[in-house]
Amino acid sequence: MKKLAIALVIAACCCCTGAVIAQDKAPAKTVSEVYDRMTSNAEGEFIGAAEAMPEEKYTFAPSTSMGEFKGVRTFGQQVKHVAAVNYMLASAILGEKPPVELGGENGPDNIKSKAEIVKFAKDSFEYAHKAMKSFTDQNGMELVQSPFGPNKTSRTSLAMFIIAHPFDHYGQMVEYLRMNGIVPPASRQ
């Protein structure tokens, strides 16, 4: 057991075990509070990876000579996509229009430089926190309009997606970083 725990902690690709360890305060007592803290974990890993990539590599995507990479997003597009989706989900939870122009789930065209993209991502997580703090045990399961498709879904379902979705792209960005000779900050010992 100990060996497995150590293996989990030191595994180069393991991110979230650290996130659980990082909870150095009393456990969260509500669904909203748990989701808000988990958002912080996702945010920490994700923004760390976004900041670690040099600006000139923001246009990097694995080439087709490296495998089946036709049409995949560049590093910068991955960051923008997660930020835009954060805004879409959080605004649906809050029942309001996104506070910034998103231009769809890939983010606005006018956000281009690394600094602009990182700021867009940071702001999206800040807005996500606002959404996470907004719902209660009473209205968390109320159905609201999904930003994807015609159906309605619950606030907590959208909240869960805000936590899970960045990790998918984080896992891909980790590989993009390593392909460029950079060890992801969360994996440095």
């Binding site: 057991m1 497995l4 725990a5 989990l8 902690v9 180069a12 690709c13 393991c14 991110c15 979230c16 075990t17 659980v20 360890i21 909870q23 009393a26 456990p27 969260a28 007592k29 669904v31 748990v34 803290r37 988990m38 694995p62 495998g67 089946e68 049409g71 995949v72 997003r73 996509h81 989706v85 769809g104 789930e105 890939n106 399961m141 159905l143 994807f148 498709g149 015609p150 159906n151 309605k152 879904t153 619950s154 907590t156 379902s157 869960m160 997606f161 899970a164 979705h165 990790f167 998918d168 792209h169 984080y170 896992g171 891909q172 960005m173 980790v174 590989e175 993009y176 392909m179 460029n180």
Partner: protein, 182 residues
Amino acid sequence: MKQLQAVLLASALAFGCTSALAQDKAPAPPTTVVATLDNELSHLEKGLVGLAEAMPEDKYSFKPTQGKFDGVLDFAGQVKHLAGGIAMYAGAIQGEKPAAEPASLKTKAELVQYLKDSLGSAHKALAGLNDQNMFTPIPPPFGKNPTTRFALAVAMVSHPNDHYGQMVEYLRMNGVVPPGSK
């Protein structure tokens, strides 16, 4: 909106998004927080098992080499780490020791089965959550600070997405388009 759906479906990297879209097909949305988590776990399960099955057996020992990849897990290691991690979380939620690792974990079939079994134990762990026990402080499986069954459950369902993203890249490096991205 239709266009957005098409983009999401077609998007080579939109595993997470397909899981949201999949809600469109669901007969009725989950009515409890735990059912929502279990729903997400089912999407995750489909994605992870799909990747593990899509990778050819002879590529299970693959790990990237072009770049800074010292010490990273090979594909088999990713599957094993995932399955072991999920089993550990599931065990902690149920107040039990995690299910023992199978004696032999070498072949693709053995690793895929281990992953499936761990995901099965994750569903079982979620089924045991209720309003009375969700937020009771319990000892953590990692570190020192007390946690709750619910916090572990959310971590158990979200953490594997990180590995999903990595495994997607491993597949693509081997010329395989992930099933969830087709």
